[in-house]
């Protein structure tokens, strides 16, 4: 849901105040929003660690953990997005330790960049989110492989075939989740 679609409310008799972020004033996220986003993240973690592996496995499957990172990064300041990226990268490194630390570096950089880009450039739009999911997943895969010391042929295959495939599936699933939970994931602020 775009920011323009969010409703306004009245505060202290000064007329309708939009809950859309205007770039001014001391504001913070509502507790109910944090709870809803937490529920979405928990659902994504369950999808990643139980539902998907219990149904299907193979290359190119959507990465729900990365999706959770993107959803959080779009709603956090860049510094905290880097912290979340560090945690997500550490989790992946511990569960699939090709080169310990490679995922941490990649996810910190991408988390920070996504949050910073969201604060400066991106619009809160489904298509933009899908593009971010696709490009972010693709870049993550290439960075992790490069940091893991993969051969040039493997890197090329990842860049041309498997990276785009996983980026596409992640973007598709991410778009469905963003649409399904659009009311929960909408960015609102409390003034």
């Amino acid at each position: 849901m775009g920011q323009a679609g969010l409703g306004g409310r009245t505060a202290q008799g000064r007329g309708p105040v939009s809950s859309v972020w205007t770039g001014e004033g001391p504001t913070r996220r509502r507790k109910s929003d944090r709870l809803r986003i937490s529920i979405v993240v928990v659902i994504l973690l369950l999808l990643e660690f139980y539902l998907r592996p219990s149904l299907i496995q193979g290359r190119g499957m959507p990465d729900f953990l990365l999706l959770a990172l993107w959803i959080l990064c779009l709603r956090l300041p860049p510094g905290w997005a880097a912290v979340v990226g560090l945690v997500v990268g550490a989790t992946i490194d511990i569960l699939s330790p090709a080169r310990f630390g490679a995922n941490m570096i990649a996810h910190v950089l991408l988390g920070f960049t996504a949050a910073w880009g969201r604060a400066v450039f991106f619009a809160d739009h489904v298509i933009v989110n899908a593009g971010l999911f696709f490009v972010g997943t693709w870049l993550r895969n290439i960075m992790v492989l490069a940091l893991s010391g993969a051969a040039l042929g493997t890197l090329t295959a990842e860049a041309l075939v498997w990276g785009p495939v996983q980026g596409l599936t992640t973007a598709l699933v991410g778009t469905v989740i963003v649409i399904l939970f659009r009311d929960w994931l909408a960015i609102r602020v409390e003034r």
């Binding site: 139980y50 989790t91 569960l95 941490m104 570096i105």
Partner: protein
């Protein structure tokens, strides 16, 4: 840079980014022994519910989708065992005739492979069998098709496998004719980055026909002798002209397997001497 509250957040965000990057780079630069200890510790404590959940998911998927295949494989094995029982009996008689002791039987444990959707998944695999069932570092890991890899690190309840796709993987090998020895290592070929194996160190005078099967030699003390590795699909001359190189299509696919077998190191408890009463020797399998 301004956050959703409109505050200038550069002062807060950059230190956090630098701190996170520093931690990540420190982890990246850690020696393998230290990082292994760290990974094992976190996997045993904070992430143990995640590993248990993944193992449960793998079991559910197996029971849901591959039960029929497992039943078919079990039936095939039962038929084959019936045919092999005569050979086993003959072998025991011949060994007794020439005074050979009982053949050591390898101990093994089954394990489920917990795949991740990361691009490096096929190089290092996580399995839900650890030191609690006797798995140790350098234990070979096989599938019904052939050699998969070797245990890289063993935690209390989970372990990491270095598969044959890892750049550091090496195994001493011979061909089914028994006349050609070499070292097998991974190789990436083609524009699609297809991962295969390569038999190196073969003398120029030796030739291996296409289609020959390659087995482990047992040299080096890690892999037992006779585990199938793959089939020769192509040959080429070393650019420097010192050796022949053979490309091998591996039998085991690390990206597709869901179960594997860890061959445990032989130990004194792994076999029992024949007793004086003439009872047949038996292996003690876990």
């Amino acid at each position: 840079m301004r956050d959703f509250g409109g505050r200038d957040s550069v002062g807060r965000d950059l230190p956090l980014l630098v701190a996170c990057l520093t931690v990540a780079l420190l982890c990246y630069a850690l020696p393998r022994t230290w990082s292994s200890a760290l990974v094992t510790g976190i996997r045993r404590t904070a992430l143990s519910p995640v590993v248990a959940l993944r193992a449960r998911a793998e079991r559910d998927r197996t029971s849901r989708f591959t039960l029929e295949a497992i039943e078919a494989a079990r039936d095939s094995l039962a038929l084959r065992l019936q045919g092999d029982s005569v050979l086993v009996h003959e072998n025991a008689e011949l060994r007794a005739l020439i005074g050979l002791g009982t053949r050591l039987r390898s101990r093994w444990v089954p394990a489920e492979v917990l795949h991740q959707v990361t691009p490096t998944d096929a190089r290092m695999l996580l399995m839900n069998a650890g030191r609690n069932v006797g798995v140790a570092v350098h234990d070979p890991v096989v599938t019904p098709e052939g050699l998969l890899g070797v245990i890289w690190e063993a935690g209390p309840r989970a372990s990491t496998v270095m598969s044959w796709r890892h750049p550091d993987f090496r195994v001493s090998a011979y061909t089914d004719s028994g006349s050609v020895l070499g070292i097998v290592g991974p190789l990436v070929v083609g524009s699609r980055g297809q991962a295969i194996l390569e038999l190196r160190g073969v003398a120029l005078r030796d030739t291996v026909p296409t289609g020959a099967t390659v087995f482990t030699t047992g040299l080096g003390g890690v892999y037992p002798r006779g585990i199938p590795i793959g089939r020769v699909i192509d040959a080429e001359i070393d650019p420097l002209g010192y050796e022949r190189l053979y490309r091998i299509a591996p039998f085991a696919n690390p990206g597709a397997i869901s179960h594997a077998i860890v061959l445990l190191a032989p130990s004194d408890s792994g076999w029992v001497k024949p007793d004086s009463a003439g009872a047949p020797p038996r292996a003690v399998d876990p």
